[in-house]
């Protein structure tokens, strides 16, 4: 059985399309990532799947329940963590957890094993008000609250946005552990580097899915040659790279990445030569490792 099936779901706001014919499936017990920049339509998709919004077109099922017809069943069975911190800021950590456990008809003790790893870190602050926690702690608490009723499918909308890198890594480690409890997880993030933590990902832009694959296959099927280039004048470097035929170039960290189309093999020295002819010095050209971000940029055009 699939955890989530979305078929051609669309959503418009005031006539402007936010989600356009999006289809994907999430297998049971996998971490499925929706990767895309802000405004790509990730939150709308989450809200449709959690029955908070009605799709304008298409259909979707969560754990074989229809999101329109069986909304009540879905609400009983899923865990949802919205993008915005949505707990009670004036209640303490423990009170929040207790409240959500009760709302979901369970107790903290009953499913403590699920949240134990996370809650241990929160325990020293259990009498602190949620509003006074750090960003990472807030997200951990929100995850606990969304998990406390042992949901069949967990929806996490940008759980790591605004969280420091260390906490982000910890957060993903927790998701991996949850996966072992056979909880299917749908997670969205604007950070491309987090994509590799998912089992499968959908790259999404302007309401449409560009590609769905495992992160490894996505990188493997990149196809193009990819070089990383550095020179004394970064601005001029990017200008000059634009003039190289059959390539696409863009800034990438301290380097510039040059993606060479499949049919036009080229080697590093050719690029270096071209750059030096154009008056750039300290030229450094090497093969680059393909990342999800390169795949995303490649798919955009």
């Amino acid at each position: 059985m699939k955890a989530v099936i979305a078929e051609n779901i669309s959503k418009q706001y005031d006539g402007k399309p936010a989600v356009e014919k999006v289809s994907f499936e999430v297998n049971e017990g996998e971490i499925f990532g929706l990767i895309g920049p802000d405004g790509a339509g990730k939150t709308s998709i989450f809200r449709i799947l959690t029955t908070l919004l009605l799709p304008d077109g298409g259909s979707a099922q969560v754990h074989h329940w229809d999101v329109v017809k069986d909304w009540r069943a879905i609400r009983n069975a899923v865990g949802y963590m919205p993008g915005k911190f949505s707990l009670y800021q004036d209640l303490t950590v423990e009170e929040n957890l207790h409240f959500f456990a009760t709302v979901f008809n369970t107790t903290i003790q009953e499913n403590y094993h699920l949240i134990e790893d996370i809650y241990v870190q929160l325990e020293p602050f259990k009498n602190r008000r949620a509003g006074k926690l750090s960003g990472g702690m807030k997200q951990k608490l929100a995850l606990c609250c969304a998990l406390i009723h042992k949901p069949k499918v967990l929806f996490l909308d940008e759980p790591t946005t605004g969280v420091d890198p260390v906490s982000r890594r910890e957060f993903w480690e927790m998701l991996k552990k949850l996966k072992q409890q056979n909880i299917s997880i749908v997670v969205s993030t604007p950070y491309m580097d987090e994509a590799s933590m998912c089992d499968r990902i959908a790259l999404i832009q302007s309401g449409s899915i560009l590609s769905i694959d495992t992160p490894q296959d996505l990188v493997k099927n990149y196809g193009n040659q990819l070089f990383r280039v550095k020179a004394n004048d970064r601005y001029r470097l990017l200008e000059v790279l634009k003039s190289v035929p059959s390539t696409k170039s863009y800034a990438f960290g301290e380097y510039a990445h040059v993606s060479v189309e499949k049919d036009h093999q080229m080697d590093a020295s050719e690029i270096a030569q071209h750059l030096q002819q154009n008056g750039l010095t300290e030229v450094e050209v090497g093969e680059a490792e393909v990342t999800i971000e390169d795949c995303f940029i490649n798919l955009l055009h």
Binding site: L54, W71, P82, E95, V103
Partner: protein, 366 residues
């Protein structure tokens, strides 16, 4: 059931942790009752009076001493010149003037008709009217004492029923009750529900087994209880501090208050369903509820004096009916038979707003 209880407990925690809300909830009723009781009062006491005594005879002296003896007036000064009146009014030294012309006693004794003139500063018309009434009453009283022996006199005996001393308090206690309940129930309920939307917690609550309508119910219960506490504190203040007794049945009074609280809560729910931010909810509660309550409940401005369209509008203001009910029960000591019609109207308004709220309630976002 257990879920509902936990939810209600959570609401209480919200209220109790928010010092500002707490202050509004319990401080405001007390402050308002005291302000209305002691400061804002339309009673006329110790009004400064200028007396122009051109007669300087026995009759005029007797009238002056009678005026002086009443608690309503302080005689600012006694002069001879009418010119002084305007100067004194303009400087604010006196609010009224009593002019006793020359040959006052002579005219009274020989012609049996004598004139006095009362001048009042009518920049505050209500005040001026009251002063005039009091002064006329004192003079009538004096005339009656002279006429005692004469035949064919009609002596009107005026008695102010239910509030013989014409105190302001009996009038405003019901008004303040309506005002406070309107503020606490409508505004606080609306804000607390909208806050869940604004903070995003509503989104989480919707994706839970908790029935959305129960969110509303559990929001309403704490404010209902807090409002009943407020009623108790207002009534205690009015009985023991302001000396306004409860003449009617206390239980009936609480029952009617519970009904009015329900009306307010239904209005609060309606506002919360129609708005998305706390600010808008607050503005609508203030402008749409509080203002009409002050204007149209009849507690500040008599409805009878309003033009027809405004009188019509006043009929849809719940506070007007509650004001009538509380006045009837508390001050006149009447029973349910006297207020069933008003109670029915309040019930109707409550059912109406609950109905459209339930119809408009969204189980989804947007």
């Amino acid at each position: 059931m257990k879920r509902l209880l936990v939810f209600i407990k959570k609401e209480f925690t919200h209220v109790l942790r928010d010092k500002k809300t707490l202050l509004i909830l319990f401080g405001m009723p007390i402050v308002q009752v005291l302000i209305f009781g002691f400061v804002l009062s339309n009673e006329v006491k110790n009004t400064d009076l200028l007396v122009i005594d051109q007669a300087q005879d026995r009759a005029s002296k007797e009238i002056i001493s009678k005026v002086q003896a009443s608690e309503y007036f302080d005689i600012a000064s006694v002069t001879f010149d009418v010119q002084d009146v305007e100067a004194s009014f303009k400087k604010g030294k006196s609010k009224a003037a009593l002019i006793l012309p020359k040959d006052f006693e002579k005219n009274l004794m020989t012609k049996h008709v004598a004139q006095v003139q009362i001048l009042a500063d009518a920049s505050d018309p209500n005040h001026a009217t009251t002063i005039e009434n009091y002064l006329t009453a004192i003079i009538r009283d004096y005339t009656n004492s002279l006429n005692a022996s004469m035949p064919y006199t009609i002596i009107p005996e005026v008695r102010m029923l239910y509030n013989p001393q014409l105190k302001g308090a009996p009038n405003f206690v019901p008004g303040v009750m309506a005002l406070i309940l309107m503020l606490v129930c409508v505004m606080m309920t609306a804000i607390s529900i909208v806050r869940e939307k604004e903070m995003g917690t509503m989104e989480v609550l919707l994706v839970s087994p908790f029935k959305p309508i129960m969110v509303i119910v559990s929001k309403v219960v704490p404010y209902f209880i807090l409002s009943m506490l407020n009623i108790v504190s207002i009534l205690l203040l009015s009985v023991y501090v302001l000396g306004v007794p409860i003449k009617g049945n206390v239980l009936l009074l609480f029952g009617e208050s519970a009904l009015f609280i329900s009306t307010c809560l239904s209005l609060g729910i309606f506002i919360s369903i129609k708005t998305q931010t706390q600010q808008v909810a607050m503005l609508i509660s203030l402008m749409g509820m509080l203002l009409p309550t002050v204007l149209f409940s009849g507690f500040m401005f008599p409805i009878e004096n309003m033009p027809f369209p405004l009188r019509m509008i006043s009929n849809i203001v719940p506070a007007k009916w509650f004001y009538i009910i509380v006045k009837d029960i508390m001050i006149k000591g009447l029973g349910f038979a006297a207020v069933w019609k008003e109670s029915l109207i309040l019930m109707g308004i409550t059912v109406f707003f609950l109905g459209i709220s339930i119809k408009n309630f969204k189980i989804r976002l947007a």
